[in-house]
Symmetry: C2
Subunit: 104 residues, 2 copies
């Protein structure tokens, strides 16, 4: 029997992304760092984006970012790939991501 | 003996305002509403900005906004006046407040 693939995580639809939830998700230094790293590259594998934090913290921060609509989390075998929802965020809150990334 | 004046609340210096703390402070519907009301007017008296919440919640939200550097809280007798730190925020995180207020 092959190893079980990771479950497909749920994401809010683009038009259900809430401003307060996005701001709260961005409002933590580790999550800001994850978002900056994803903005700089294309996609990243879960553990790679914030290598200097314990695995459980990374998992929590990734979930917060995903559930608020800031990132997508795609299963890839037994791992997950992460990607910033730049198009969705830019459409819903024009300029927000740019301002936050510039403010670093 | 006259009634005691409210204690002077502490505020972060403009150059110590942190992006993550500001985003976290803005990341709540009630606090976003307070910020929008302050942005629309000049100054407001504490209880007036979010009249539909219990006093203890308002106090908590006001403190979160003040301690992150989003608002100023001035004692005025036994009450407090509130004001958005628009100049400080615009200088430190250009465009952030405008984007958030527009995104409402």
């Amino acid at each position: 029997m092959p190893p079980a693939a990771a479950a497909e995580p749920t994401h809010p639809a683009a038009d259900r992304i809430e401003l307060a939830a996005v701001l709260a998700a961005l409002g933590h230094p580790a999550r800001l760092e994850i978002v900056r790293r994803l903005a700089a590259g294309e996609e990243s594998c879960c553990g790679d984006v914030v290598p200097d934090l314990p695995r459980s913290s990374v998992t929590h921060h990734i979930r917060t970012l995903r559930e608020s609509g800031v990132i997508l989390q795609h299963p890839r075998g037994r791992k997950h790939l992460l990607a910033l929802r730049r198009t969705d965020l830019d459409a819903r809150f024009p300029g927000l991501l740019d301002v936050v990334l510039r403010a670093g």
